[in-house]
Amino acid sequence: MKKIAIEVNGKKVSKEIQDHTTLSGLLRDILNLTGTHIGCDTSQCGACVVHVDGKSIKSCTALAADLDGSKVTTIEGLASNGKLHPMQEAFKKMHGLQCGFCTPGMVMSAVDLLKNKKNPSDQEIRDWLEGNICRCTGYHNIVAAVKEAASKM
């Protein structure tokens, strides 16, 4: 067991956790932040992507015990004061989601892309999102949504 203190979506959290608790496990099972999804357990699908200290990572293969002192943002923390983030707005406008299961990871990944590249091309968007699998949309509207968000941010 290890005690860690982290900040999740702007709130300070201090928890005693098992050594093998993953960040996704901490978020979902201990903090009840179930917006972060587990789709594969092997860091292949990207449904679990969150931001740690501003960078997107796959939370299903990050050990929570390693993250003492870090700042975590999940899909629940993206909107502020009830106003959707431009990326969330764009996914809605362009129908970039269907069943919604991959969406939290996809959105968190896309937000990080725009931090790195302000106006990515279609190919750059597709390359960046290669680690996030979506089975519903065929990615067409996801790419459109990221471009839409880039134009608004």
Partner: protein, 792 residues
């Protein structure tokens, strides 16, 4: 009020999904819940000699361990095939028992034999490792082409044959073939796929010891049907003591139609241990135990004249059922496949013969398109081959054989109510710049690349209903759909549907329809589905049936509401119901300014006698309230159709196939929400392209699934696909009041042959099996080079 049908309305469901507030089954936790881990067979085929749970039972945190013996003791029934298919000789199909936990024998890797319930997931996992199962391993039947000549897997099922089915007339086909100038022959596979909804299957069970009611939260496409099967066949509990809830479901694609072992076992066990139970599949469990799709071997022949007219068609197929026959397992390779195998063409004579066999692999069932992709792949590949052998253009040969008059009686079963195949193909040809292909091919060649173009024209039979037809064909239930529309006294509307959304956007589309019918703003309409305690009954969502069957039930229920509303408004306005018109949410007396809004009428209906203008607004014979329901059973399937064209560029040095351009032109009749329909097409295309280029479920000779993770099973990713170029034509369906046709599966149905036709075109007609992986294409390119060198 402008009509909402036809508008690109943004989705009502998006906000919760985009803010992490969706509620999927694995998000649900119940106080005091236990965690389930299933112990699964590591062997494809074995006898269970002994299961020793003694050590595991003493493990920390273990609450209970149950096996097939307990299932048998409690007489819990198993999983079933939903369709009874007869062989050509009239004999009934042969189906093995499929108990929820195997007791005597296991038949595929992943077949569950026992289950551990413990206080924590870690404890359940640790205890599961201590359960000792002694197997006598038998030789597995894992190869489809050898299954009929292998040892029988199930007692009494000779040749592993479930049925040997025929649709069509062998004699007529023989005569047609005798008249042909040329017989085109094709041997193809239809590769096995794993649906891979992004949400792994899960169930959370809550047993209420006071009411003795079991609530099963589960990842299902049809919760009512799951409850029915679990009750009627599983004997878990009577339906009134069993509530099945499918909350937000993260994709299905057919894999969540079936009721599965885990739902039966956990529902039954929850009552036994008097504790809630949570089970969530790991991805590899999903790979191993979700129903798989496709998996055919087909020999087809097409009889043609020298000028490209089709005379007759033969389809001889062996279909893999996997280890057991499940709900749509037996109908997918027969009635969902055979009739569509003659494609969009006038085909004077045809038959489809299908032998469905058991193998020691996961059960095969409906996967997006279910039978129709396999059918379309068969006909569209052989039509292309015919064009090539006759030296004709692939578009010309298709045009030559299209029907141009509707209704069109298709060769084997269907009476197609409407369509315009010529318009669709012409539009696709123009959008794809078909005529510019030669120049683009030249350009690719100048870079050392190969370029190919592929065409597919398809129709499909979906909107799976009507009850009299499906029951005649062997379905165990009628496939209608129900809806209930309730006005609250204060004017908001709740629509209950038996249909289920797991990505299809029912909350938006159905609200658009109801808003148009009732003249109530969409934001005041809630669509409720997925809970057997809410709404009457439903047959669920599959076969592109939600809108064409479930949506129409909503329309009809709304029409009943309006009719009752007219009677009430007439009484309130002191007019006769015949004089009252309903438009834009208002009941208006003809040639007057007297009117009532539907909200006022709804309010009045709940408060008979309180309104001051009349003593009671309710006419004689009408009961209070404004609630109506409808069961809709259409007169026919719906028949979407279209033409797709794609171009690929192949690098002969690596075998990499770049999907360069993809154009899809579809006819879905009336489109309620273009934004959503386009999304359905995009997703369908990605899955069909995945089948053509990437996806393949592979078992080894011992029956081990060697593609059981995302490292081994290639899912199409963002950088594998292009942007899609979509177009639509419209001929309205004549069998429903909206004129709608199903749109959910079309993309999957058309895209696999489109891509393969393009790949094979690029390879100069060289046949290649599905999927066209870089390795296979590279080898084909090498051979091409060799034979070109020889010819030179």
């Amino acid at each position: 009020m402008a009509s909402l049908v036809g508008s690109r309305v943004e989705r009502k469901e998006d906000k919760r999904f985009l803010t992490g507030k969706g509620r999927y089954t694995s998000d649900i936790n119940i106080a005091n819940q236990t965690y389930a881990i299933f112990i699964r067979s590591p062997h494809a085929r074995a006898k269970i000699k002994k299961i020793d749970t003694s050590k595991a039972l003493k493990s920390s945190g273990v609450v209970e361990i149950l096996t097939g013996e307990h299932i048998a003791q409690d007489k819990i029934g198993g999983l079933i095939a939903g369709w009874a298919i007869r062989s050509e000789d009239g004999s009934e199909m042969k189906c093995p028992a499929n108990p929820p936990l195997a007791k005597d024998s296991v038949n595929f890797v992943g077949d569950p034999v026992a289950v551990v319930f413990a206080e924590t997931l870690d404890e359940a996992r640790a205890a599961a490792d201590l359960v000792k199962v002694d197997y006598k391993v038998l030789k597995a039947v894992s190869n489809l082409s050898e299954a009929m000549n292998s040892e029988a897997i199930h007692d009494g099922i000779e040749k592993n044959l479930c049925y040997d089915w025929l649709l069509g007339d062998r004699q007529k086909v023989k005569e047609a073939f005798e008249k042909a100038d040329k017989i085109i022959k094709l041997d193809i596979n239809n590769n096995r796929l794993i649906p891979n909804a992004m949400e792994p299957r899960a169930c959370v069970i809550d047993y209420n010891t006071a009411s003795e009611e079991i609530t099963c939260y589960t990842t299902s496409q049809n919760p009512h049907l799951s409850r029915l099967i679990m009750s009627a066949f599983g004997g878990v509990a009577p339906e009134n003591k069993l509530r099945v809830v499918a909350p937000d479901v993260g994709g299905g694609f057919g894999s969540k139609i079936n009721l599965y072992n885990e739902e039966i076992v956990c529902s039954w066990a929850s009552k036994k241990i008097e504790r809630p139970i949570k089970w969530v599949a790991e991805r590899t469990e999903s790979f191993l135990t979700d129903t798989h799709g496709r998996d055919h071997i087909t020999h087809a022949e097409l009889a043609v004249t020298n000028d490209g007219k089709f005379l007759g068609f033969k389809n001889e197929t062996i279909a893999n059922l996997g280890a057991y026959a499940r709900v749509f397992g037996t109908v997918t390779p027969t009635y969902l496949f055979g009739p569509c195998a003659t494609g969009v063409y006038i085909m004077p004579a045809a038959y489809s013969n299908v032998k469905a066999v058991y193998t020691n692999t996961a059960p095969v069932d409906a996967y997006r398109g279910a039978g129709r992709p396999e059918a379309t792949y068969t006909i569209e590949r052989i039509v292309d081959k015919a064009a090539m052998e006759l030296g004709m253009d692939p578009i010309e040969i298709r045009m030559k054989n299209f029907p141009t008059e509707f209704p069109f009686k298709q060769t084997l079963v269907h009476q197609i109510d409407s369509g315009d195949y010529v318009a669709g193909l012409n539009k696709a040809k123009e959008m794809a710049d078909y005529d510019g292909f030669a120049a683009r091919k030249k350009e690719s060649e100048s870079k050392g690349k190969l370029r190919g173009i592929g065409v597919t024209s398809y129709f499909e039979a979906c909107g799976i209903a009507p009850s009299p037809v499906v029951m005649m064909l062997g379905c165990g239930v009628g496939l209608w759909e129900s809806a209930e529309v309730r006005f609250n006294p204060t004017g908001q509307v709740t629509v209950y549907t038996g249909s289920h959304s797991h990505g299809q956007s029912h909350q938006t589309t159905f609200a658009q329809i109801a808003a148009d019918e009732l003249g109530v703003p969409m934001e005041n309409i809630d669509v409720v589905h997925g809970d057997t305690d809410k709404g009457t009954f439903g047959m669920g969502t599959y076969g592109s049936r939600s809108l064409t069957v479930g949506g129409i039930a909503i329309v009809n229920a709304c029409k009943k509401i309006v009719n009752k509303g007219k009677r009430i408004a007439a009484k309130m306005l002191e007019a006769s119901p015949d004089e009252v018109d309903f438009k834009n949410g208002e009941f208006v007396v003809a040639k007057s300014n007297k009117k009532k809004t539907i909200g006022e009428v709804a309010f009045a209906s709940y408060l008979p006698g309180v309104r001051d203008e009349v003593k009671s607004p309710l006419p004689e014979g009408d009961e209070p309230g404004l609630i109506e329901s409808s069961f809709f059973d259409p007169a026919n399937f719906s028949f979407p159709a279209g033409s797709h064209i794609c171009e690929v560029e192949i690098d002969p040095e690596t075998g990499h196939v770049k999907l360069d351009k993809y154009t899809a032109v579809d006819d879905f009749g009336t489109i309620v929400n273009p934004l959503i329909v386009e999304g359905q097409v995009h997703g369908g295309l990605a899955q069909g392209i995945g089948q053509a280029l990437y996806e393949n479920a592979q078992y080894d000779d011992s029956g081990q699934l060697i593609t059981a993770s995302y490292m081994d099973y290639t899912m199409p990713r963002a950088d594998d696909l292009p942007n899609f170029n979509l177009g639509f034509t419209c001929t309205k369906a004549t069998t429903n009041p909206l004129g709608v046709k199903g749109c959910g599966e079309a993309g999957t149905i058309a895209s696999t042959p489109t891509v393969m036709n393009a790949v094979i075109n690029a390879l100069g007609g060289k046949e290649i099996s599905l999927p066209a992986t870089a390795e296979k294409v590279w080898k084909a390119c090498k051979e091409m080079k060799k034979s070109n060198a020889k010819a030179a």
